[in-house]
Amino acid sequence: MRVLPFELFVFATPVSRQTHRKRKRRDWREVIREEALVVRPVGESAVAEPIRVRVGYYFRGGSLDVDNILKAILDGLEGVVYTDDNLIMDLIVSKRSLDEFVRLEVSAAFARALATGADFVHIVVDRPLEIEVLK
């Protein structure tokens, strides 16, 4: 079994890169790391090939800035899903409020995440697009 595509749902309020306490940021990074280790297929190790990372933050009520939560997520995945941040060719980050109008394409795993009623972060790591032209 291969590591990619790798999919992870994390049910916890993210912690900001700008946290006032470094230990706190390490905690959030550890949550990501531990959850990623659970999901990674047994016997597999981090890939050392170009990758695409997509991060979706789904919330009710108040939210955090996406740029501030990203670093801890990427740090948590490094060494578990991919060997080095430098392998990230495409990085797509989004947040969506479930209290407003939003259209979602829903897999069974995503439906289970929605059904918890909690805020969550959905992370998908796979291969980068072969051709990408910014429009």
């Binding site: 006032h20 259209r103 069974a108």
Partner: protein, 216 residues
């Protein structure tokens, strides 16, 4: 517009969109119109084409917490060229914050906490939680201001998440405050809600700790 009206309008908009894209659309299909794997579900819409087929459901945020959606997603996932799209539609909520105003001073926060404890002793748990929440929110907003976190026009929920994300409150405090806030949100708007006496005591204790740590 009511939630039902919003959902109807959105359903019509999505039906038009899929028809423009060349799909054949059926709104509220009857079981005979559905393939076997969908025959036990009551669906808002299906859109079919040679390329792919879509089940469209219109839901409120609260409706997403549902085993039915999970079962529907699982059923669709077993079929090639079928996908599930959910459009989340919610009524606009009222602005909860006053247009302007000043936070209550620290002395009044202490007074509110004493009042909350008195109410708790009298077993007036709902009132105790509401009064303690008032003290809590003043402390949370002041803590945010003091640490350069923009909180003036942010909702209580956003302020709480930002303080947690910034490491200014710990996970235990976050849980305690979030639980009290959920109770406040339901109770203050006329919805049925209850709060456990132990949880109130813990909440008042957490608010007092945060106040005294801030003051230290």
């Amino acid at each position: 517009m009511t939630q039902a009206e919003l959902e109807t309008v959105k359903l019509e908009q999505l039906a038009s969109e899929y028809r423009r894209k060349g799909y054949e659309v059926v709104i509220h299909p009857h079981p005979p119109d559905l393939p076997q794997f969908l025959s036990t579900f009551q669906l808002d819409m299906i859109a079919t084409s040679r390329k792919d087929n879509v089940v469209v459901e219109i839901k409120s945020s609260a409706d997403l917490i549902s085993d039915v959606i999970v079962r529907l997603a699982e059923a669709i996932e077993t079929q090639a060229r079928w996908r599930l799209e959910i459009a989340v539609v919610n009524p606009t909520t009222a602005q909860e914050l006053p247009v302007s105003g000043e936070l209550v001073p620290d002395a009044q926060v202490q007074s509110l906490l004493r009042e909350a404890l008195d109410l708790k002793r009298e077993q007036r748990y709902e009132a105790a939680t509401i009064v303690a929440w008032s003290a809590a929110e003043a402390i949370l907003r002041r803590l945010a201001q003091e640490n350069g976190i923009e909180a003036e026009r942010k909702s209580s929920d956003t302020v709480l998440k930002q303080l947690y994300a910034s490491g200014l409150i710990d996970p235990g405090q976050y849980e305690s405050f979030a639980r009290a806030m959920q109770f406040r949100n339901a109770f203050a708007h006329g919805f049925a809600a209850s709060v456990a006496p132990d949880a109130i005591e813990q909440f008042i204790h957490d608010v007092e700790n945060l106040r005294s740590n801030r003051a230290a």
